[in-house]
């Protein structure tokens, strides 16, 4: 599509203009006389400037030097870009009207800025011709806007801009679809990401910009309202010049984003103020400011090794080149399109990262679930328990039955909680007590369990206290009296829930490299799963044994 537009632009340059004199400038005279339409009227005394004509009728005469015209170019059309309401005379012959000129008693009907006329074939000869215009300019009477003329094959003159517009509308449709899609995505996602909203807005603004740019082909805009459209286009460009860098700031984790945005906003306002009324220049400067800011953010992103940095940098460079090389009307849009494509690419990268994160979270949860279930079937636990159980059954079937009962209860609770990510602390403590009962049969140590200030309704991740208890049993030797004591204390403050788990026993010396550490990994993973970063975990030896502290931010 871009290639095609580019081609059109080039074709526009390659065609040899029909008007030979560059920049033919009109001569003005205030007043009204039908004789002024004549081709050979002496207008030497007329003025180069119009002055403020207020509510008076004035005439303008412009001499166009035509080249020899090939037959296939006929019929010729004349495009006039001018303010006001006017009648157009070609060598004294009336060839058309634009609006209705102010007359005594009758108000002016404003014409539109760009109008088209067919030139009679008989009046096309090489050499000088005169376009005389009987004009009134009731609105913006002091506005000195020159009149510009373009002569081309009549149908081409009318249809070429429409063909360009059709391509631009194609682009606009794509942006409209994208904006609707991203708005829906924003509204329906639980996380409500700001960058999606920004991106949707950029697409919508860009769609509007394209529609506004070609609005003149849909609606006849009276010249009196000409600047409203330009003003709207200016503000749309202004908004996009702000939003595009903002999007990059979010995507590339630019640290001083707020400062940069403030500087950009100030610059844009300054540009608006300084060049008030120069719409095309302002828009160009806006997009320049946008490009510079984006470059800063993207280069910083590359230094920070953010994903997609180089692709976007390449996109920005292409965009800058297009902006410089291609005729303004298309250039702005093509360069904008390239940028939006870059953003789309970034968005897809971001989406895939989020998807991967989500997958990891799901994977982690199922892995933790598995780890919980494995606690009771891992050979060290199961086979040692079964061996002890054999011994109890052989020696004292009654005690053996109690042992089996305790193990069954522990299994039941494990089974019940295995698929949950948070369980009531009451359930967790029940699990711990059953585990102690099983281990009591195995180790024949007098285990004592104490708990203080437990709020049974609080939720915690499953089997984390259980894991601390297992560690306590494994790494402790009993004190005199063959006892090991476990104490769980709960406290709550404005900011945190705190669980302190204490083992009062003698710490066994470690001889070999611990294969362990898995218990702590499990606890940390479970805390992260449920509380993200809002927790702390600490575990260390004390004089009386071992203390572990879990803090959960409220």
């Amino acid at each position: 599509m871009h290639n095609l537009l580019f081609l059109f632009t080039l074709l526009g340059w390659l065609v040899v203009p029909v008007i030979r004199n560059d920049d033919p400038s009109p001569l003005y005279h205030t007043g009204d006389d039908p004789a002024w339409a004549a081709k050979n009227y002496k207008d030497n005394s007329w003025s180069q400037t119009r002055g403020n004509t207020a509510d008076k009728v004035f005439w303008s005469r412009t001499h166009l030097d035509l080249r020899q015209v090939e037959n296939e170019l006929l019929p010729l059309g004349l495009q006039i870009e001018s303010f006001g309401a006017f009648e157009v005379y070609w060598d004294g012959v009336l060839i058309g009207k634009n609006g209705r000129v102010l007359e005594n008693g009758k108000p002016e009907l404003p014409g539109t800025e760009s109008s088209y006329y067919r030139i009679p074939d008989s009046l096309i000869t090489p050499g000088l011709h005169t376009v005389a215009m009987r004009t009134s300019q009731f609105s913006h009477p002091g506005m000195q806007r020159s009149i510009s003329f373009k002569i081309e094959e009549y149908t081409a003159l009318l249809t070429r801009p429409l063909i360009t517009m059709s391509y631009m509308n194609l682009m606009a449709g794509a942006f409209l679809t994208a904006s609707v899609y991203y708005f829906f995505l924003y509204l329906n996602s639980r996380r409500r990401q700001r960058d999606i909203l920004i991106f949707g807005t950029i697409c919508l603004l860009f769609f509007t910009l394209l529609i506004m740019e070609y609005l003149k082909f849909h609606v006849i805009i009276p010249y009196s309202d000409f600047f409203i459209r330009l003003e709207i286009i200016g503000w749309l460009t202004f908004a996009n010049a702000l939003l595009v860098p903002w999007y990059f700031i979010i995507q590339f984790n630019f640290r001083r984003g707020a400062w940069l945005m403030a500087a950009l906003l100030l610059t844009l306002l300054l540009l608006y103020g300084l060049n008030y009324g120069h719409y095309d220049l302002t828009a160009r400067l806006y997009s320049l400011a946008m490009l510079i800011t984006s470059f800063i953010v993207v280069l910083n992103g590359i230094i920070q090794k953010e994903k997609g940095g180089f692709i976007v940098l390449a996109g920005l460079l292409v965009s800058t080149l297009v902006n410089k090389l291609v005729v303004y009307d298309y250039g702005l849009f093509i360069s904008f399109t390239v940028i939006v494509l870059c953003m789309l690419y970034l968005h897809s990268i971001r989406a895939s990262v989020i998807e991967a994160e989500h997958q990891n979270a799901v994977l982690l949860s199922s892995r933790l679930q598995l780890e919980l279930l494995k606690k009771n079937i891992q050979p060290h636990f199961l086979r040692n328990t079964l061996t002890s159980m054999m011994d109890w059954v052989e020696e004292s079937p009654k005690e053996g039955a109690r042992f089996i009962q305790a193990l069954a209860s522990e299994f039941d609770i494990m089974n019940e909680i295995s698929e949950m990510t948070l369980i009531p602390i009451g359930k967790e403590l029940e699990l711990c007590r059953q585990h102690l009962s099983v281990m009591g049969f195995r180790k024949e140590i007098n285990y004592i369990w104490e708990q203080t200030f437990i709020d049974e309704t609080q939720l915690i991740p499953p089997a984390i206290i259980h894991t601390l208890l297992e560690n306590g049993i494994t790494h402790s030797a009993p004190l005199a009296g063959n006892t090991i004591k476990f104490i769980l204390r709960y406290s709550i403050s404005k900011e945190i829930h705190q669980y302190v788990f204490e083992t009062i026993a003698e710490n066994r010396q470690v001889l070999t490299d611990r294969a362990g550490g898995n218990g702590f990994k499990y606890i940390r993973a479970r805390l992260t799963e449920s509380y993200r970063q809002n927790w702390t975990f600490d575990s260390h030896a004390t004089e009386t044994g071992w203390t572990s502290t879990i803090q959960i931010l409220r």
Partner: protein, 232 residues
């Protein structure tokens, strides 16, 4: 008979003790229980046992690192463990048997029978001999061994690379662990038959075994027939 049990589960340790005592019956037997590796090692330093019953996973300690030291020692080791997946590995290191938990009396008796009856070989093959030199434990592949010579309570391993290593186990205990390819040709020599060339008869009907290295080892009178039957 001195037997050491290293087991951190009180109930299981007592079960082992009871069954072992039953096995040896009225033979004078001293059975000691240690509930940690630390205590076990300290005990061994003072009283070298005749047999060690060892749990591999104790109080979170990894018993395999200790196992290397144990199999290098003068006594036989029987593993009693829940980690049944480690059995092959344990045999490769040269343990006499691996009793998986949970075990009954029959299985433990089977292991203890292996201890008292040298002709019963372990289920899976030994791959390494473990030697201690200057406090370091090294593994020597048994394919590297040409022959082993008894030297008092120690043994000398003669290796393909020409070096010799001392091993704490007696020739009898090593013979029990090593596969059939190792033949006792003399009260002081255990030979890897793959390294033997032929039997030579010296003047005075003294027999010798010529090795591929050119070395000749004496063959005991009573062993000659056995050896001759195993056509070299």
């Amino acid at each position: 008979m001195n037997i050491l049990i290293i087991e951190d589960e009180a109930r299981i340790a007592r079960r082992l003790q009871r069954m072992t005592a039953d096995f040896f019956g009225n033979k004078p037997t001293q059975i000691t229980i240690c509930d940690s590796l630390q205590k076990g090692l300290e005990h061994i330093a003072d009283h070298v046992p005749d047999l060690l019953l060892l749990d591999l996973n104790l109080n979170g300690d990894n018993g395999f690192q200790v196992l290397e030291q144990m199999v290098a020692a003068a006594f036989h080791t029987i593993i009693v463990s829940a980690n049944t997946d480690k059995a092959i590995n344990a045999f490769a290191y040269g343990v006499l048997d691996f009793v998986p938990k949970p075990f009954d009396q029959d299985r433990l008796f089977q292991a203890l029978t292996r201890f008292v009856n040298p002709s019963v070989k372990p289920d899976a093959g030994i791959k390494y001999l473990t030697v201690k030199t200057a406090g370091q434990v090294r593994l020597i592949s048994i394919t590297e061994v040409i022959y082993i010579k008894g030297a008092g309570i120690y043994t000398e391993l003669h290796l393909k690379n020409g070096q010799q290593e001392l091993h704490d186990k007696s020739l009898g205990l090593l013979q029990q662990l090593l596969p059939d390819g190792f033949e006792r040709i003399h009260k002081s020599y255990l030979v890897n038959l793959q390294q033997a060339e032929k039997i030579v008869i010296n003047p005075g009907t003294r027999y010798g075994l010529l090795l591929k290295t050119g070395e000749v080892l004496p063959v005991g009178r009573s062993k000659y027939k056995d050896l001759k039957n195993k056509a070299i």
